[in-house]
């Protein structure tokens, strides 16, 4: 089961955060903002300290959850957390990226790099996540 989704823009600000399950930990909006920019910095540092060129953090595994990060070539990061046995995190992230290009970027009133407040995006995101959650149950 998926827990949370974060979208971080290329300068490291959190532009979207959504709980994907009632089991997700409750974060205040300040906490999630802090988490977003901290992850951005860690990601950048991880890429810098790599002995050979690296694209930074792609996944984290812990005993109680796993995290997967998709960095697009344009610099945005899509980060999803899920319970340990959840399959296909990268497929879901790719699907979310496609939804983002459709319902966020094609919305003429959305300003690039700004926080995402697009109802259509949230709706389709919920549908997508539900579909994967149902399949993996």
């Amino acid at each position: 089961m998926f827990l949370q989704l974060f979208i971080i823009n290329k300068s490291g600000s959190l532009i979207f955060h959504q709980d994907l399950s009632p089991a997700a930990p409750r974060l205040s909006s300040n906490d999630s903002l802090r988490l977003g920019s901290t992850f951005h910095s860690l990601h950048a540092i991880a890429a810098q300290v790599a002995p050979i060129a690296s694209s930074g953090i792609e996944k984290l595994e812990t005993a109680t959850y796993r995290l997967r990060c998709l960095q697009t070539l344009t610099g945005a990061k899509f980060v999803i957390t899920a319970q340990p046995n959840t399959p296909e995190l990268e497929v879901v992230l790719q699907g979310i990226y496609e939804l983002y290009t459709d319902y966020v970027l094609k919305n003429p009133f959305y300003e690039l790099e700004m926080p995402i407040r697009c109802e259509l995006f949230t709706q389709h995101l919920e549908k997508l996540v539900e579909r994967y959650n149902a399949a993996s149950r």
Binding site: S11, G12, A44, T72, L73, T74, G75, A76, Q94, Y97, E98, Y100, T101, D102, L105, K106, L112
Partner: protein
């Protein structure tokens, strides 16, 4: 090179099949109405050309993400790869036509995208008083905007245009600078 060219063509086909389609006539007419409105609003042809380029730029900076998300192409290895990807995959995916890459300069930093078939100009004839109008200039802006989002600063202009009496459409793309991926200035100020 021949094999990789084929691969680009195949990716382009796949992307094209995946995209939702819109009637080409409707598209051409809508674009025509928009250009006409600009011509009426600005009067000065150079200003119209600049406006079309700016509009294209604003489309390009958004379109690039859709391209990357849906085309299945990853990061390009070099500018030749980029050029082929623009011509064979991107033009196919969004306009349904395939372009050719030609006229590389000696340093390999400038190339032309040659477009034999431009769906934007299907019904268009330029009247003499608008002979300086770059009718499809929006395409230059799109390429410039899209490449800027993947750290490439380019200059882009219509070198030849069927509407102005040339035998084909040629968009000249010159690479000016590859922007280094780096931390924001803010980050360095803190150190």
């Amino acid at each position: 090179m021949a094999t990789s060219g084929k691969q680009h063509t195949r990716l382009g086909e796949q992307a094209w099949n995946k995209m939702s389609k819109v009637n080409a006539e409707f598209f051409a007419l809508t674009y025509g109405a928009m250009v006409m409105q600009l011509v009426q609003d600005f009067e000065d042809t150079a200003a119209v050309n600049a406006q079309l380029d700016t509009m294209g730029y604003n489309i390009g900076v958004r379109l690039i993400d859709e391209f990357l998300a849906k085309s299945g192409t990853g990061a390009c290895a070099d500018l030749r790869d980029t050029a082929e990807t623009i011509a064979k995959v991107a033009f196919k995916m969004f306009l349904g036509v395939v372009a050719e890459v030609a006229n590389w300069n000696a340093d390999g930093t400038a190339f032309s995208v040659v477009l034999y078939d431009n769906p934007l100009i299907e019904f268009v004839e330029l009247p003499p008083q608008h002979c300086e109008l770059l009718y499809s200039n929006v395409l230059c802006g799109v390429i410039r905007g899209a490449l800027e989002m993947v750290q490439m600063k380019v200059e882009c202009r219509f070198a030849r245009d069927v509407l102005r009496g040339d035998d084909l459409n040629e968009i000249r793309v010159e690479l000016k600078e590859v922007l280094a991926e780096q931390m924001d200035d803010q980050y360095f100020e803190g150190m």
